[in-house]
């Protein structure tokens, strides 16, 4: 039982809550809730009109049930009724219910808005506040439409009570955030700014949040707020701790308002007016001074409130970035916090110093704290604090301390938390590259990275080290020597083998003079790792081997023997097999000159932004890496690449094997698509290419613009003249399979046809199961596709099932599904059924993950009218749709509206790949969807749109 039961104490509600708390199990709880729901439903439906109190109690119970996490599908009407009650508590419960359980039922919204309108007009401040709270809590577009005009009037009217003004200001803020287009600036805006002068601190506190938000979007219109804010701040800062009475919090005058004032000033550049600026600088100095004074209270609330203002002031100082004196003072203050016993302060000091480090005025001052920060990285017990320390080290790094910082980060990596390792690796790689003075240090650092945290070294990192070694001839010999030594380790990471293979393949000759690293020793060392590596690494090693043949003719017999061995030349992996065959042939046919040209050293890579930096940006989102840093990266990158901008293509390994995505292509960031050949299922010889390219269009398909399906003339079994036309329901049956691969395609009294299918890239395999539901055998059982199939058993015993396998290859995009005709005799009668085989274009989707930025950039690129297909349609199913089985990647946090679904994928066909973007916008109120598809090919957009529109 509650300690106090203030006010109403609805006993029925308290009893119900106790009951729920006494339930021993989830089942018991559900049982009790269902009993209560039944009870409430019967009360609401009963003939006897309920009094306001009972209605309130039951609505409150429903609310409680909802907040427990159960669904509530009734009671909304009763809650709306409560809104028009004259009794405050009934109205209040009604509003609470509506605020929590927003229902988009349009009829109700109109009723709710009506009740709100009445309360706003009532001139009763408590009623007005309830109505405003409700609008602020719901904040829907419908409410914005109804009240965005009215609320500004209430806010600035002379006779509005203070408490109503406060609610009106924040209510308007919420509406502005959800529907900025509906809140029109006007005469009221200048009067809102003057609320900063209001006598009532509560009004200023509420109004300033609104003003800050409006200023961000319309800085010019609100710029008079700067001087008002400065004078208000000045008054607070200089007031004694008791002046502000109840707005003083643990001896700190108006901490919330102070923070908000400082925050508002961060929307603007430093004040131009000298007097205003002087006053502001004075305020900031006072705040910094106060931090040095002994605390007025030992309570943590006192220091938190005081430091909240201090941190906000420091943010403003950093934002202005023009007062060297203040910046250095801020830095010293933060330096003190770095060693504070409060973890929270250490965390915030590290975070705040990160931004200070990028200011030219305070960069040096930040650097003096390096030892403390390194110590924090080593000793902090909380991983989130360590993360901040690592961020700060990254931010304060420059040429003077790079070696120390990189070394510390490397040693931290050995024990770092798994959650931050990948980011740490990227940061070390970037710093090492950015501040490398001698490149042997850079190479050592990256190889150390691979040694310590090989699993977290992404491709970009090892691509980059190769790029740099290739572009800098002064480091090539050292790199070769170092990787050779690193590979001596009995167990080395696969990434090390990749770098080693690539570098020795290019520059192994530079260390071949030493008998300890003679060509054959180098080769044997590499080859000793071969069997432990994955396919892509093996492919890379094979390329290194052929390069060896060019570099060191004496290794040719040994390497040819390796290539000729069954494990290479008959390797079940197509890629490896192809490389082995081609390299073997190349090495035996081509003359030394040809070989030397084809296998020439890789040309320097063109100057470009570091792919690692791009990766870090992607990982942290824009803003994590400042623009200046990025430009730095470019500048330094340029230096590093030594002006190599020559692009030659003839000599690269890639040229010798068109289907191979060479590492060089990826180094340039032009990641080529996965090779077609490697995608083939291993049992390649069994693959029946059923949709062969040549041949007339099958007559029974009945569609002329069919550029995909064509039948091979030899497929005899489809006697087109006597095949039945497709069943009327065949389209509907097809639609059932758009989002699923397995299930029952067709069923009548005699026959059941089941389907199991799987797809990968542009290939698919489908199993058809024909089940005889009767006890009598089917004779002359044939199936025919308007393309070639292998025949099935002509006899299907009663109760038995026969199986048929179809291999599918998608040659180009298509619209009509293949037709499947089934004929058999059952008790003498000929059965003739034609169905659409559920093969639809979306089966060949490969999901693609992308960020919001990428998505909308691509979305814009596909803006030609014919690239888009759109449909608006009524929901067929409940609108809690999950976009499963489409084959695309469902992208979260991409669309600004979380109700919307966006997906991206690539349709794989043999002829081409078609990138597709999808956006599904549900309108729960109207039970409608809008589906938009954009792809590089108009027929694909159109077809996908048709198919998918049936699915929701």
């Amino acid at each position: 039982m509650p300690a106090v039961s203030k006010g109403d104490g609805m006993r029925g509600l308290a009893v119900f809550i106790s009951d729920i708390r006494n339930c021993k199990s989830k089942e018991a709880e559900i049982k009790r809730i269902n009993k209560e729901l039944a009870n409430i439903r019967s009360k609401f439906k009963g003939d006897k009109a309920l009094d306001g109190y009972s209605k309130k109690k039951y609505v409150c119970k429903l609310l409680f049930i909802f907040l427990l996490g159960h669904d509530i599908d009734f009671g909304h009407m009763e809650a709306v009724n409560l809104l028009s009650s004259n009794k405050y508590t009934e109205k209040q419960i009604g509003y609470l219910f509506i605020s929590v359980l927003v229902n988009s039922n349009s009829e109700l919204i109109r009723l709710i808005n009506n009740a709100i309108k009445n309360d706003l007009a009532s001139r009763n401040p408590t009623f007005m506040c309830l109505a405003l709270h409700c609008i602020a809590n719901v904040g829907s577009r419908e409410m914005a439409e109804a009240f965005a005009g009215e609320i500004p009037r209430i806010l600035v009217a002379g006779d509005t009570m203070d408490s109503v003004k406060q609610s009106a200001a924040l209510c308007l803020l919420r509406l502005y955030k959800t529907s900025p287009d509906l809140v029109l600036m006007g005469e009221w805006t200048s009067r809102v700014v003057h609320l900063l002068n209001d006598q009532h601190m509560g009004v200023v506190t509420a109004a300033i949040s609104l003003i800050t938000c409006l200023s961000q979007k319309n800085p010019d219109e609100f710029k008079t707020c700067v001087s008002l804010a400065v004078s208000r701040l000045s008054r607070i800062v200089s007031s004694a701790s008791t002046d502000l009475q109840d707005y003083t919090y643990y001896f700190v005058p108006a901490p919330w308002l102070s923070c908000k004032l400082l925050r508002l000033l961060q929307c603007y550049p430093p004040p131009e007016d000298g007097a205003v600026k002087g006053r502001l600088v004075e305020c900031l100095e006072t705040i910094l001074n106060k931090a040095q004074e002994p605390p007025k209270s030992k309570k943590v609330q006192h220091s938190n409130a005081k430091n909240a203002i201090l941190f906000e002031a420091i943010s403003l100082i950093i934002h202005y970035d023009s007062e060297p004196n203040l910046l250095v003072r801020a830095c010293n203050q933060l330096g003190q916090f770095l060693q504070h016993r409060e973890t929270n302060l250490r965390y915030l000091a590290l975070e705040s110093m990160c931004t200070l480090a990028s200011s030219e005025f305070s960069h040096e001052a930040v650097k003096t704290h390096i030892e403390t920060v390194i110590n924090a990285l080593k000793t902090e017990r909380d991983v989130s604090v360590r993360q901040r320390a690592a961020d700060l080290l990254y931010a304060m790094c420059d040429r003077s301390n790079a070696k120390q910082i990189v070394a510390e980060m490397l040693s931290y990596l050995e024990t770092a938390d798994y959650s931050i390792r990948e980011e740490m690796v990227l940061k070390v790689a970037i710093l090492a590259e950015k501040y490398a003075v001698d490149y042997s240090w850079y190479v050592d650092t990256i190889l150390n990275l691979i040694r310590i945290a090989g699993d977290y070294v992404s491709e970009e990192v090892w691509y980059r080290v190769i790029q740099i070694v290739i572009n800098r001839d002064d480091v090539q010999g050292y790199a070769a020597k170092t990787v050779f030594e690193a590979l001596q380790a009995p167990a080395c990471h696969e990434n090390m083998v990749k770098v080693g293979g690539y570098i020795l393949g290019e520059f192994g000759n530079l260390i071949a003079g030493d008998p300890r690293s003679s060509p054959l020793i180098q080769f044997n060392l590499l080859h000793s790792k071969f069997h432990l590596c994955s396919v892509p690494t093996r492919a890379l090693l094979l390329s290194a081997y052929i390069k060896f043949i060019n570099l060191f003719p004496e290794t040719k017999p040994t390497i040819q023997e390796v290539l000729r061995s069954d494990s290479q030349i008959r390797n079940s992996d197509v890629e490896l097999q192809q490389r082995a065959v081609e390299y073997l042939k190349l090495s035996s046919i081509a003359s030394t000159d040809v070989l030397a040209t084809v296998l020439e050293e890789m040309p320097p890579f063109p100057e470009r932004e570091s792919s690692i930096l791009a990766k870090l940006k992607k990982k942290k989102g824009p803003g994590a890496v400042s623009v200046s840093e990025l430009e730095d990266g470019k500048r330094e990158g340029g230096e590093l690449n030594g002006g190599g901008e020559r692009i030659t293509d003839a000599s690269a390994i890639a040229a010798s094997n068109a289907s191979t995505p060479s590492p060089s292509a990826d180094l340039l960031g032009l990641r080529s698509a996965a090779p077609v050949g490697s995608a083939a299922p291993s049992a390649g010889s069994l693959l029946v290419d059923v949709f062969s390219e040549a041949g007339p269009v099958a007559p029974s398909s009945g569609v002329t613009d069919d550029n995909f399906l064509s039948s091979t003339p030899s497929s005899s079994s489809l006697g087109s003249e006597d095949a039945a036309p497709p069943l009327p329901e065949s389209d509907e049956l097809l639609n059932k399979f758009v989002c699923k691969n397995n299930g029952v395609l067709f069923e009548n009294q005699l026959l059941q046809i089941g389907i199991k299918s799987e797809y990968r890239q542009n290939l698919g395999r489908m199993y058809l199961f024909y089940g005889n539901k009767t006890s009598v055998q089917f004779v002359s059982f044939t199936t025919a596709l308007n393309v070639q199939t292998k025949p099935v058993e002509p006899l299907v015993e009663g109760g038995a099932q026969v199986q048929q396998v179809i291999n599918i290859e998608c040659l180009s995009d298509f619209i009509e599904a293949p037709l499947l005709n089934i004929k058999f005799r059952y008790g003498g009668a000929l059965q003739n059924i034609t169905l659409k085989l559920p093969v639809t274009i979306n089966k060949f989707f490969q999901p693609t993950e992308m960020s919001s930025q990428d998505f909308f950039q691509r979305w814009k690129q596909l803006s030609l009218p014919q690239q888009e297909a759109q449909k608006i349609f009524k929901a067929n199913n409940a609108m809690d749709t999950e976009l499963l089985g489409l084959g695309t990647a469902l992208l979260e946090n991409v669309d600004p509206n979380p109700e919307n679904f966006v997906c991206a994928g690539v349709i794989q066909t043999k002829a081409q790949q078609v990138g597709c973007l999808l956006r599904l916008e549900p309108n729960a109120q109207a039970q409608m969807y809008r589906l938009t598809l954009r792809s590089s090919k108009d027929t694909v957009s159109k077809r996908l749109c048709e198919l998918l529109a049936q699915q929701f």
């Binding site: 509650p2 203030k6 006010g7 029925g12 419960i93 509560g202 949040s209 017990r381 109700e899």
Partner: protein, 157 residues
Amino acid sequence: MQFMLLFSRQGKLRLQKWYVPLSDKEKKKITRELVQTVLARKPKMCSFLEWRDLKIVYKRYASLYFCCAIENQDNELITLEIIHRYVELLDKYFGSVCELDIIFNFEKAYFILDEFLLGGEAQETSKKNVLKAIEQADLLQEEAETPRSVLEEIGLT
């Protein structure tokens, strides 16, 4: 502020306030994730953490965790004191508040919050003014109270 959650050490949600539009499904997902993350943290750890693109500020009072999600430019320490002020308000209203008060009088907990924070921003930071507004409402209610049936008195309806 984007939302505020109150949950117990056992992970039971006691109060939820959302200042951004989200679907019920999304709300449940966020709640589950955050309750798990916060409960897994040790006592001496700092009160702030990065989560998705937001900052989480949390503090434990007896058996209850108060947890706020704020945006990147928002002030962590002042948010911590928003939590504390809310706790003070509850404490003053209920008289030494405990988890049970919030369970049995959940509607009051919401009303107090609405007087203090609106749309995720501080509306009235004076403790006196907030409590005055709430007590006024209680007064209004007592005046309006009508006699109830015997059955109602013993909580049977």
